[in-house]
């Protein structure tokens, strides 16, 4: 059923002598002492882990203590400038709330009562429980939830043990619908870092994307660059975001009606003949059907759905056409909103297709990566039991495993029991909607192991908590980046861990040894592993330790540079009509369904990002906490006046299922529509170990008891929850 292709990109092989020499010319040594006169300061290049963007950084150590971290000037991602989170990275290392030693629970799960144990005891216990699970249920009964590159070695150990179920919330809780929607249309995904050529865009369209608050470094830098160069910015968002404040056209769209707006924009482009006819004729498939289907979606039809006047829809569509193909309709990142998200993402893809922006300068470029051979491990054991997350391809277009599917299988025991969870660097209590389901799944487990830097809420539910060294204290897997300019980057320790924390690779290797899987770790030390891989690419660990990264030669980016205009879809073309969607019983051209309203008097709960925090991972970081120590609930000014609510008043939110939030400060503002409220995700910590941030602000995740599942790929849309405001908190 699922004929979606995997991401295709250019891999530069044989990266050796010639290319290395070329690239080396632009790379400088960043390790070592600072110039004379700066005291006892030395610098170490490494790559950041405060978010998943993996900017290359240079850490400064003064008198043996972390002082500051700045961007590596050779880095194509950060161009010498980290984002505020990366700049505040030292706070991760000096956070007094950090986990310090392995912990085993001695009371009921979730009570957060611990005994400190040695690594030998902790790993010995885990290995013993894993062998019991394997004997009773098979190794497939252990699952891994992991986020970020740091999970690489743990995944390796668990694959060697025999697991088949492994997922990251970044798919079903985040960018999954976007990548599937684009894949269904162009045969390729957007990927991370996004292949968006923002800096060359002449017109940038953001739909709910709040760049500037959502601080993906390269994107924000390019957003500012495009804005500075006079690009036309169009923003559709129920909230007047920072990005909206930079826009020539701000469209305060009714929450959940984005797809109606997209269809109306396409209607205008097609009806008025403003689309790129040559591009569509040459590369499009099923355009006539698409055109006929679109005819119904006039701006007048969209008006009552979106609240956006027909003349505004027409004016913005014409503006997009005026700048094409350098008009970029941004695909967004966190795309799990209403359950129809893949079709909305497909509409974004199709709008870009009409504008001819895919494969064109100022639209979507073709990224490349360098070829670094993998380490030659023995093959993993095979299993014929399949995966549990998506039985019978219930979600036929899921291209990655579904966290929510593993959670459900853990609760039901179907199609087979899941009895052990490993959770690496992802706070599932905040990352997944419906916390009660997560906790129900945990109660069905025989073993829950959490590897984390801080005592996150999910760690509070663990049987064993393993304290990880921060990125500033460890080596990690190489970052072989797929980007506009390819590069290979090293993460290396800058300082030693302050207590008994260990690097993920060490934890994974020691666990493998305890499990009798030593054959999967022929290397003894990570430096040996890294050097082996780098030698395979004509480089060396010594070189990377000095430079932090090595850049590869620039490859063609656009069709006009010679990238072949190939679309690995079933038709080999851009699919305005999707036969595979039709065959699976879905709309071959996106259709709009109005999302259900909430109970009378309630507000739709929307959430987003702050520039100084990442998910629920950074609120205890003392440097970043000092910049923002609680979130606020944005409430429309007229609503606030009606309720007698003022900015700064504390309130609680009650959702449609009676769940009541922690206290949260109101921000009464003209910058949000009256039918919704908004808060930054990640606050409202309930873990007792997070002393510095416990009870500060409210958790959006706690209020997201409902979620709308995307029938195409299993994404969990969260903008389907409604709250009322309780005053006097």
């Amino acid at each position: 059923m699922n004929r979606i292709s995997r991401r295709r990109f250019l891999k530069i092989a044989g990266f050796g002598a010639g290319a290395a020499t070329l690239a080396a010319a632009s790379n400088r040594s960043l390790g070592g002492a600072m110039p004379a006169g700066t005291g006892g300061v030395h610098t170490v290049p490494t790559y950041c882990d405060i978010c998943f963007w993996k900017c290359n950084a240079v850490a400064h150590v003064r008198d043996g203590q972390l002082w500051k971290i700045v961007g590596n000037p050779d880095d194509p991602l950060c161009r010498g400038r980290l984002c505020p989170r990366g700049t505040g990275g030292i706070g991760a290392s000096i956070d007094p709330d950090r986990l310090r030693a392995p912990l085993m629970r001695h009371k009921a799960r979730g009570e957060e009562k611990w005994v400190e144990v040695t690594w030998d005891e902790a790993l010995g216990y885990i290995a013993e429980r894993m062998q019991t699970i394997k004997a009773k249920f098979g190794p497939e009964a252990v699952a891994l939830f992991s986020h970020g590159i740091g999970g690489t070695f743990l995944k390796h150990t668990l694959r060697a043990y025999g697991i088949t179920n492994s997922a990251a919330p970044s798919f079903a809780q985040c960018r999954g619908p976007r990548d599937v929607g684009f894949n269904l249309t162009f045969g390729e995904e957007i990927g991370s870092p996004e292949r968006t050529d923002i800096r060359n865009a002449r017109c940038l369209v953001l739909i709910g994307s709040h760049l500037g608050e959502n601080m993906h470094n390269t994107q924000v830098q390019e957003f500012a660059e495009a804005n500075g160069n006079g690009a036309t910015i169009i923003v559709a968002d129920p909230r007047f975001s920072i990005a909206a404040s930079k826009a020539k056209h701000y469209l305060p769209v009714k929450p959940g009606s984005d797809l109606a707006l997209l269809l109306a924009w396409m209607n205008v482009l097609v009806t008025e003949g403003l689309y790129d006819t040559d591009y569509v004729t040459q590369h499009g498939y099923g355009f006539d059907y698409f055109k006929a289907e679109l005819a119904q979606y006039t701006p007048e039809w969209a008006y009552p759905e979106t609240g956006i006047a027909p003349e505004t829809i027409r004016a913005t569509a014409r503006e997009m056409a005026r700048h094409r193909p350098a008009t970029l309709v941004h695909p967004g990142r966190h795309a799990t909103w209403y359950g129809d998200d893949t079709q909305r993402s497909r509409a974004i893809a199709l709008l870009n297709a009409l504008l001819g922006s895919w494969g064109r300068k100022g639209g979507f470029y073709y990224p490349s990566s360098m070829d670094v051979p993998a380490y030659p491990y023995p093959p993993y054991p095979k299993s014929d039991r399949g995966k549990v997350d998506n039985p019978n391809q219930r979600y036929p277009f899921a291209t990655e495993a579904l966290t929510s599917g593993i959670r459900e299988a853990t609760i039901t025991g179907q199609p087979y029991p899941i009895k052990g969870w490993f959770v690496y660097a992802t706070n599932l209590i905040h990352a997944m909607p419906n916390q009660e389901e997560t906790i129900r799944a945990i109660r069905a487990l025989d073993l829950l192991v959490v590897v984390d830097v801080i005592p996150s809420e999910i760690a509070g539910w663990a049987d064993v908590v393993l304290p990880e060294a921060t990125y500033l204290e460890r080596y990690d897997e190489l970052n072989v980046e797929t980007f506009r300019e390819p590069f290979i980057a090293l993460r290396q320790p800058v300082v030693t861990p302050p207590a008994d924390q260990k690097p993920n690779w060490w934890i994974a290797r020691e666990l493998a040894l305890k499990l009798g899987l030593g054959a999967y770790y022929p290397w003894h030390d990570i430096e040996e592993y890294l050097d082996y891989r780098l030698k395979g690419a004509g480089l060396s660990l010594a070189e990377l330790k000095q430079k932090g990264l090595v850049r590869g030669p620039q490859q063609p980016l656009y069709f006009e540079d010679g990238v072949p205009a190939e679309f690995p879809t079933p038709s080999g073309k851009i699919e305005f009509y999707s036969t595979q969607l039709k065959d699976a019983g879905f709309d071959p051209v996106p259709r709009y369904t109005r999302p259900a309203d909430g109970p009378p008097g309630s507000f739709r709960l929307l959430s987003g990002r702050a520039p100084v925090h990442t998910f629920s991972r950074t609120q205890s970081n003392p440097v970043l906490r000092d910049a923002m120590d609680e979130n606020e609930i944005w409430v429309n000014g007229d609503v606030g006046a009606r309720l007698g609510l003022r900015s700064g008043d504390y309130v609680r939110l009650r959702n449609q299922d009676g769940v009541i939030s922690d206290r949260v400060k109101a921000r009464v503002t003209a910058a949000i529509r009256p039918d919704c409220v908004y808060m930054v995700h990640g606050f409202g910590h309930t873990s007792k170990g997070l002393r510095s941030t416990f009870g500060k602000g409210a958790s959006d995740a706690q209020l997201m008891t409902r979620y709308a599942v995307d029938p195409l790929m299993g994404g969990t849309g969260i903008n389907v929850n409604f709250v009322t405001i309780e005053q006097g908190a």
Partner: protein, 179 residues
């Protein structure tokens, strides 16, 4: 003789606070205090809203009330770059300058002296830009010599519409915001 100033492009600034965080680590600013900060001013009604974001700090004024009111001479204008600085050894922490500054740019450091932005003189003396300018991911901040007509800051002021904070205070700030 140089006369340092700063030009900040509000069109590009997204208010991400990177300047605030960079200043904190660069200058070991104690928890709960900051030498620079972000202000946001929202005007209008939906959808015709206007948001002005300003990265603010000591304006290193031409007529600095903090210097004239200082009873000990701790607050002074240094020759190099005409930058307003505080001599920690002379400061008695009397807070007169905190009251005099119309921008709220000063705070009392836990060690007892009045503290504020120094334009990162320790960096500028080594030919580097202030930490906030160097870190800004939007490249909206510019630092240089206002007396040099060829400098980037002078050229930006000459060619772009701009404003200063609280011009009525008569302090003649040396931080200029491009509209």
């Amino acid at each position: 003789m140089a006369r340092f100033g700063m030009v900040i492009d509000t069109k590009k600034c997204v208010g991400c606070m990177d300047c605030v965080v960079a200043c904190k680590t660069e200058n070991d600013v104690p928890d709960g205090h900051c030498r620079d900060w972000i202000s946001q001013r929202l005007q209008g009604e939906m959808p015709d809203l206007r948001l002005t974001i300003t990265s603010e700090r000591c304006n290193h004024c031409e007529s600095p009330p903090c210097v004239t009111c200082c009873p000990t001479g701790a607050s002074h204008v240094q020759d190099f770059g005409k930058v307003v600085l505080v001599d920690h050894d002379k400061c008695i922490g009397c807070k007169a300058c905190l009251a005099a500054c119309p921008y709220g740019a000063r705070f009392i450091h836990p060690d007892g002296y009045a503290d504020k932005c120094t334009f990162c003189m320790h960096r500028v003396e080594r030919g580097l830009a202030p930490a906030c300018v160097d870190v800004c991911p939007t490249r909206c901040m510019h630092f240089g010599d206002l007396d040099d007509p060829e400098s980037e800051v002078s050229r930006l002021i000459a060619t772009r519409r701009h404003f200063v904070l609280k011009p009525d205070a008569g302090t003649r700030p040396r931080i200029f915001y491009l509209e």
